[in-house]
């Protein structure tokens, strides 16, 4: 039996490109609206505050109950999230601007005391699995430097593509693809921030994930670009029509694109399922990022060249 799916691939990616553009645009616009209205769930790296991972003795406590108790004693603005199966992550801004040396101990004490007011949530220091503190200063700096890093990465990679391919259309295609992937993942994390059973936090690891996705996506895109360049240089090419050449290049590399994506997705799936709570958000960002990256290099980055290029790409 033969498997025709990839080998005789002949899908009209270029012809249907506007549908892909529309899909991506709608998703990203919805994402941007969501980002500006409901924003993100920021991890403690970005908000600033004291964060504790607490394992309650009583497994049947709702996060809302815990939040009410903590809000009552430590002031508003606390975040309580489930962390893994049997723990909760509590972030509080209590005393966050104090530079007193004992602040950390005070906050911890205050939290234990606050939780101790209710019989159900009573804990001791031994229930706190890990704690961390981030100044708002650091958090702000991190947000800014993360954004700069992403923008810088996109620029550098576009410059590299320009040097290698000598055509600004390729550079632009790569730039759009990478920006597209970053925006898609961000949109996803904003749109579905409370819809999934695990936390979609924006933290340092998320930035690493976004950058990996950009790297992966560019990897994918470049392979297709490379094939286009090769086809354009073939003297016996049947046609010069960019639309045909590009669609052929996409279909020709489709087998490789899908197999690579499949292997990476396999690894990431395993990491996502078995990797533990600490890196679940991270591996999820990578997972959807790789899917978006594969989609963008096939359906967005390459067709874009046509819409910006002239008749002849040689």
């Amino acid at each position: 039996m033969e498997l025709h799916t990839f080998k005789n691939a002949n899908y009209a990616f270029v012809k249907n490109r506007f549908k892909f553009y529309i899909f991506s645009s709608v998703f990203i616009i919805a994402g941007i609206i969501s980002m500006s209205t409901q924003g993100f769930n920021y991890g403690v790296d970005f908000v600033g505050g004291h964060n504790y991972v607490v394992k309650f003795n009583n497994p049947n406590i709702a996060t809302d109950d815990v939040r009410h108790i903590v809000d009552k004693y430590l002031g508003e603005g606390n975040e309580v999230k489930t962390f893994g199966t049997d723990r909760m992550s509590i972030t509080t801004k209590y005393l966050i601007n104090s530079t007193d040396a004992n602040t950390d101990a005070k906050v911890k004490e205050a939290l234990i005391k606050a939780l101790g007011t209710n019989e159900k949530t009573k804990i001791t220091a031994a229930n706190i699995g890990s704690e961390s503190k981030v100044d708002p200063t650091i958090a702000n700096g991190l947000k800014k430097s993360a954004l700069l890093t992403v923008i810088f990465a996109i620029i550098i990679i576009s410059a590299y593509i320009f040097i290698r391919f000598r055509k600004w259309q390729f550079s632009l295609g790569a730039m759009i693809a990478t920006a597209h992937d970053a925006l898609m993942v961000l949109s996803f994390f904003s749109l579905f921030k409370n819809a999934l059973p695990f936390s979609l936090d924006i933290d340092q690891a998320f930035i690493a994930a976004i950058l990996t996705v950009i790297g992966y996506s560019i990897n994918d895109t470049v392979v297709v670009f490379d094939r286009i360049r090769e086809f354009l240089h073939l003297h016996h090419a049947k046609t010069d029509e960019p639309k045909v050449v590009i669609n052929d290049a996409i279909n020709n590399t489709l087998s490789r694109t899908v197999i690579t994506a499949l292997t990476v997705v396999l690894i990431l799936l395993v990491l996502f399922i078995f990797g533990g709570d600490t890196i679940r958000g991270f591996s999820f960002a990578l997972l959807i990022g790789v899917c978006f990256g594969t989609y963008s290099s096939i359906c967005v980055a390459t067709p874009v060249i046509i819409d910006f290029g002239k008749k002849d790409l040689r």
């Binding site: 430097s145 890093t149 669609n247 292997t263 990797g275």
Partner: protein, 706 residues
């Protein structure tokens, strides 16, 4: 393929180096296992065992010591091993203020405040000095900085007419020195703390120091150790009998003020009374021997009154309230006194002037530090609290009367300490012994000689650390040799840390902990198991897929990928990189990239085969044609890694390092090693299949109709 010999040589060399590097981790792991078996769960015993063999040769053949081995193990990051990470922020505003000799210029102080606010917001990536100068020039476009900074201390460097940019570069230079000094000091403190694989890095642009301490289980101790400014000072003291009148005066001043406040009108005679009182008392304090008589008596009577009422009825709230009105200070600060058998209550000798419950100390401080009270006190006197309660069971703290000498105040400061170590005093409790340099020893001798001069009235010298009195021993004889000691109910660990801090010297500027994270080792254990397991499972799944899809060629790819992991780990270990959870993710991603390179090549070889080329030519062409794709793809990913490494912090950098090394080794393995294996198979005349029946489809080049 050209240069096959060179590739083989390098592959073997790299393999040997990697085996050697990874062997340390293996040996170290075995020793730790032995230690665990030996200790049977007792962590102190385990640590003692490891300490005992740290200088013993444990590595076979080469006879490396355990210490050597453990330094070369593949270090695990905090998230995997558990431990603590701390970010210290160095505050430069204090330094700038100090350099200006606390200039009161409004614009200057406003500029400082603005610059601090901007830094605290963290949105601008400029250093503090630049921001400060910018803010200053914004506030006063024609303002000159030189007059503010050309103080007596700086006048050699800053002329009165120096330009702002000259001042700026001078400030920057000093800031750099201060930051560097803070870094060195913290480094020394951490060294003394004795943590293996501690990682300290300086971020000069933002004046931050990042510290990672794997395996640390006592975060409070670390916080104390790092944030201690360790301002050690030696002070002369006032005797209680000299200080009491001052306190008494403060007490009556406060009472008068309270009364005035109660009457609610400003025209009470309290104000002039206060003034005369102040004046009198200044004389009294300055010449205590003379002025003591009358005042002392009234004081004494009040003292006994306070004590009586304290002793007789404490539960009577109303009485106490009226007492608080009558004697605001003495109702919460009990004067240091004793009652000899059958005699009258007398003031106790020595520098301790009073006792107070810990809950009242803040109130007493606010009394003592208020402007008008300060004005009433002799300028050479200040009050400091003892560091620990006088009795560990109660929360009663002692208040000391400190005598300031000269402009600075202390007679001797911590800079003279050459060396410090933890020791035990005569009673067997831990203390810190300090050894001064020759200059300090000379001064210390003079100071102690002076204190012990009057045989009938030997003075005390207070040893003050960060404005807390650790001890104030009475000096019986002059002390030569420059040795002194601090005792104060220390635990051994506290004494060790204090000695360590004193030896490292004080931090030149205020440095506070701006972020810290403690990762519970249990969480770490969980994380390490989960991520290792997922790595292995992920690898297995992919390898099975490769063999299934590419048949025999797939096994070659599997070998290449496994060799790649091996090289990657070897290189990581030899570079002393620290493996973190994002690092593990980086390795997983590298696996994907490594597989991708093989997929690219094999897909290409299949295409070449489909064009009807012979196996040998198809392999050669396949590699040739896939090369540019692989290189371009990997170089762009590598560039991403590089940007991550340059701009990222902590965990992101760990990820970037693994990614970059992974890409390099993966290129080596997929382009060269798998090529060598394939060519070897060709030479042996094996039939290399690039597909299994289910994945084998001849390729037809097609033109898409549009």
């Amino acid at each position: 393929m050209q240069g096959k010999g060179v590739v083989k040589f390098f592959a073997i060399l790299l393999a040997v180096v990697c085996i050697y590097q990874l062997s340390f981790t293996w040996v170290g792991h075995n020793i730790k296992k032995d230690a665990q078996l030996h200790a049977k769960g007792d962590t102190t015993k385990e640590k003692a065992y490891l300490d005992s063999i740290s200088t013993q040769p444990v590595y076979p053949v080469f006879k490396h010591t355990y210490q050597y081995v453990s330094q070369r193990e593949l270090a695990l990051g905090l998230d995997l091993e558990g431990g603590m990470s701390v970010t210290m922020q160095i505050s430069l505003d204090e330094l700038v203020k100090k350099l200006s000799n606390n200039n009161q210029d409004v614009v200057f102080n406003q500029a400082l405040q603005n610059a601090t606010a901007i830094v605290n917001k963290g949105t601008v990536q400029k250093d503090y000095i630049t921001l400060f100068v910018e803010e200053f020039e914004k506030l006063s476009p024609d303002g000159k900085l030189a007059p503010i900074f050309s103080t007596k201390d700086n006048q050699d460097h800053i002329k009165f007419n120096a330009s702002n940019s000259e001042v700026e570069s001078y400030l920057k230079e000093l800031a750099k020195v201060a930051v560097q000094q803070s870094y060195t000091t913290l480094n020394t403190r951490i060294d003394g703390f004795g943590v293996a694989n501690a990682n300290i890095s300086l971020q000069p642009a933002t004046q931050r120091i990042l510290i990672e301490l794997p395996g640390v289980k006592d975060p409070e101790r670390v916080r104390k150790l790092l944030s201690a400014t360790a301002k050690l000072e030696f002070y002369q003291t006032f005797d209680n009998r000299q200080a009491y009148p001052v306190l008494n005066n403060i007490n009556s001043l406060l009472a008068a003020k309270l009364k005035a406040g109660k009457k609610d009108t400003a025209k009470t005679p309290a104000v002039p009374a206060t003034k005369t009182d102040t004046g009198k008392n200044k004389i009294a304090a300055a010449t205590p021997a003379k002025g003591d008589t009358a005042k002392g008596k009234s004081g004494q009577s009040l003292l006994s009154k306070v004590q009586k009422s304290n002793a007789t009825d404490t539960s009577a709230l109303s009485k106490k309230l009226s007492l608080a009105e009558q004697a605001p200070l003495f109702s919460i600060l009990q004067p240091a006194s004793y009652t000899p058998q059958g005699g009258q209550t007398q003031l106790a000798p020595g520098p301790v002037v009073g006792f107070a419950d810990v809950k009242d100390t803040a109130k007493i401080n606010s009394y003592l530090h208020s402007q008008d009270i300060k004005a009433s006190m002799p300028q050479t006197m200040k009050f400091l609290w003892g560091v620990k309660p006088r009795d560990p069971k109660t929360k009663i703290f002692e208040l000391y009367a400190i005598k300031l000498v000269g402009a600075a105040g202390p007679v001797l400061a911590g800079e003279v300490i050459n060396d410090a170590r933890q020791d035990y005093d005569q009673k067997g409790s831990p203390e810190v012994v300090m050894i001064m340099n020759s200059d300090g020893a000379q001064k210390w001798r003079t100071v102690t000689a002076e204190a012990a001069a009057d045989a009938n009235n030997k003075q005390s010298v207070a040893i003050v650390l960060d404005d807390n009195v650790y001890s104030a021993p009475r000096v019986d004889n002059e002390i030569a040799g420059g040795i002194s000691s601090i005792s104060g109910n220390f635990t051994i660990e506290e004494a060790k840390d204090l000695a360590n801090v004193l030896k490292a010297g004080r931090l030149p500027v205020r440095t506070h902990i701006s972020a810290s994270a403690v990762v519970g080792p249990s969480l770490g254990q969980e994380a390490i198991h989960a991520s290792l397991l997922s790595c292995l499972v992920g690898l297995l799944v992919v390898l099975v897929f490769m063999v299934a899809y590419y048949n025999r060629a797939g096994t070659v790819a599997v070998i290449a990928v496994i060799v790649n992991i091996f090289f990657l780990m070897g290189v990581l270990t030899s570079l002393g990189a620290v493996l973190t959870v994002p690092g593990v993710a980086g390795i997983v991603l590298t696996l994907g990239i490594s597989v991708d390179a093989n997929v690219l090549i094999y897909e290409r070889v299949r295409e070449e085969l489909a064009l009807g080329k012979s196996l040998r030519i198809a392999i050669t062409d396949g590699f040739k044609h896939a090369l540019s794709s692989i290189l371009d793809a990997n170089i762009s990913t590598f560039l991403t890694g590089l940007i991550l490494y340059i701009f990222g912090t902590g965990p992101i950098q760990g990820f970037a390092i693994t990614l970059m090394i992974g890409i390099t080794t993966s290129l080596f393995c997929s382009l060269l090693i798998s090529r060598i294996i394939l060519e070897y198979m060709l030479e042996k005349g094996w039939n290399i299949k690039f597909s299994n029946p289910w994945s084998c489809i001849p390729l037809k080049t097609q033109t898409t109709p549009l």
